[in-house]
């Protein structure tokens, strides 16, 4: 029976995702009818749909999926329901690496942006983990507070660098976030990353679920704690870094979406990871739609939108949930 219910849920979410994809493709500063696909009214419309809208929609969906999965993974391994890559400085590290790379004279092509962001994310993440590890594993308070402050530190360095080089314009672009410049090359890379991340999560889903238990139980059940932790960290860095490379600094999806899903449908990592990934995609698609269509002729900054929505969710959770951190 439970199996059946899960199928229904997944089916519903897939339908919703399809609907969101369709809506986000057709919506925007100018709304198109669905008949545009098989009976185009003008050459321009076809071009906009296939060269601008579709890559953008795919990028938004994939980034949403990656961010939500990465967030859930981080929350599971750190035993902290409020952890999110953007809070603990992973995004800020990727940003800093992008700015530093541009300063060093690298052209920010799609590929360069990808590996720069990945390296930045990895380094920042390792520092924050180093700060928050003690003998008993992750200390939740240290992870969040240390991460927040480290994140602030990194972004002040990026800011200082862009001030000293008179390059606040570039900084503004990264700060704003969003998918307005998405192209098929980025989508291709995102698909690759998504396959790796979602595939490994599927492959290791039982192990990661057990990793959510305490350290002793994990080891007692015969799992290699270090190996699994390494894999999880690599996946988180991959997900967060590639998201920053494409979408800029989009935070709080990673904490907001898993929390909402867990609230409606409480369950273990294994049970909830795919619904959460799908919801992440749906959330991002709607956020993207709002950012491009809510105010005519202005593109709202996606990073601000997601910070506001996610921050409100987090605030409500902290305010009304009795037990926030185990």
């Amino acid at each position: 029976m439970i199996f059946h219910k899960k199928r229904v849920l997944t089916g519903c979410l897939l339908l919703a995702l399809g609907f969101a994809v369709l809506l986000d493709t057709l919506g925007g500063p100018k709304w198109y009818g669905i008949s545009e696909f098989w009976r185009p009214t003008s050459k321009l419309a076809t071009q906009i749909l296939w060269d601008v809208r579709i890559p953008r929609v795919l990028a938004a969906m994939l980034v949403g999926i990656l961010l939500a999965t990465g967030g859930l993974l981080l929350q599971t391994i750190s035993h902290n329901p409020l952890a999110d890559p953007s809070i603990i400085g992973v995004n800020a590290g990727a940003n800093l690496a992008l700015i530093a790379g541009e300063l060093a004279g690298l052209a920010l092509t799609v590929l360069n942006a990808f590996w720069l962001a990945l390296i930045g994310a990895l380094l920042a993440f390792l520092v924050v983990i180093g700060l928050s590890l003690n003998k008993k594993g992750f200390s939740p308070l240290r992870l969040l507070l240390g991460g927040t402050i480290f994140s602030g530190f990194l972004s002040s360095i990026s800011m200082a660098v862009s001030f000293m080089t008179n390059n606040t314009q570039q900084f503004r672009v990264i700060l704003a976030g969003g998918f307005s410049g998405a192209n098929y090359e980025q989508v291709g890379l995102l698909v690759l990353v998504a396959i790796v991340v979602v595939g490994s999560v599927f492959f290791f889903r039982t192990e990661f679920t057990l990793l959510g238990l305490d350290h002793q139980t994990t080891v007692g059940l015969g799992l290699s704690f270090k190996k699994l932790m390494g894999i999880a960290i690599a996946l988180i860095v991959l997900a967060a870094g590639s998201s920053v490379a494409v979408g800029g600094n989009i935070g709080f999806v990673g904490v907001g979406v898993p929390q909402m899903v867990n609230f409606v449908h409480p369950g273990s990592f294994k049970a909830n990871v795919f619904p959460i990934a799908l919801c992440g995609g749906i959330f991002m698609l709607f956020a993207d739609l709002i950012s491009k269509a809510a105010v005519s002729s202005v593109e709202l900054p996606l990073s601000a939108l997601s910070a506001i929505v996610g921050g409100i969710v987090l605030f409500i959770l902290v305010a009304f949930k009795k037990k926030v951190v185990k």
Binding site: I87, L131, I149, S156, F163, I308
Partner: protein, 333 residues
Amino acid sequence: MTRRIRLVLTFMILCTIWIGLLLAVLSFGDIKLNVVEVMKSLFGLSRDFTTNFVVWQLRFPGLLASIITGGELAVSGLILQILTHNSLADSSILGINAGASLGVVIAMFVSAAVGLHLMSSWLLLAALIGGLTSSGLLMLVGRQQSAIKILLAGVALTAVLNGIILMLELEMNQFDFDKVLVWLNGSFWNLGMPFLTIQLLFGIGLIILVILMVPALNGLTLGSRGAYGIGVNVKMAGNVLMGVAILCATGAVLVGGAISFVGLMAPNIARKLVGQRVTYLLPTSWLLGCCIMMLAQFVATNAFGKTALPVGLVVSAVTMPYFIYLLFSERVD
């Protein structure tokens, strides 16, 4: 007896550093001045026109601003740490700075849209409303007296407020964007003496208020039960002190933009130096806050050649190593 000697020594050393930094800020920069001349000029004895002009017209306002912000941030951080029983609390982590900044950014945004010229008193009001609103929200969460909850709610609140600020910021043109960005990162944007005088009086008033509250603060370090036991009106003292802390943070934000970390660092270092008693902690934190800000001011104007960085950026760079040390030492949890 040795304890007393140690305390006196600490104070003397801190005062020396304070004066040394003050002279350094006044003497170094694009135009280098003779320290002796600067001292003479400070007491009104110098006849040298250049020295007098540079010291009083160019550098003194910046110095005053850093003393005001540093002192206010340190005091507000100390009060917040005592009230929340958490040595990691700080007006920037709790979202008070972000609230005040949002108030100011909204005021600037609206005035730019309507085409009004903004008076600094309006900015004060806007910052105050913003700071009060955000801390009011925070207090809703904090009723249960759970320290980690308040901190997390602060993190969430800061994210929301910064999101809104970012939204407004990106609607501005590049010129205004740069201006707001610099200000949000902490810099002394208005160095007119009338403005600074008002802020100075405001700051002195607040500090006198805090000094009057020292007995209550001392009681509160024992925890609310202990404080009750020795006859402190915990509820009232808590509310008044919270208000003072918010006012201090708002004043600092107004003078220096959103400078973080000073309120976190200064009381923590002070605690290491003189222990828990507020009677000693308060002046030490104040001195240390001023020192951090003056040091940052000195580095910001001198270390990077022609570009003057926003002071707040330097502050976070200067204080970061200590924070990492703090996290590593086990006393955090």
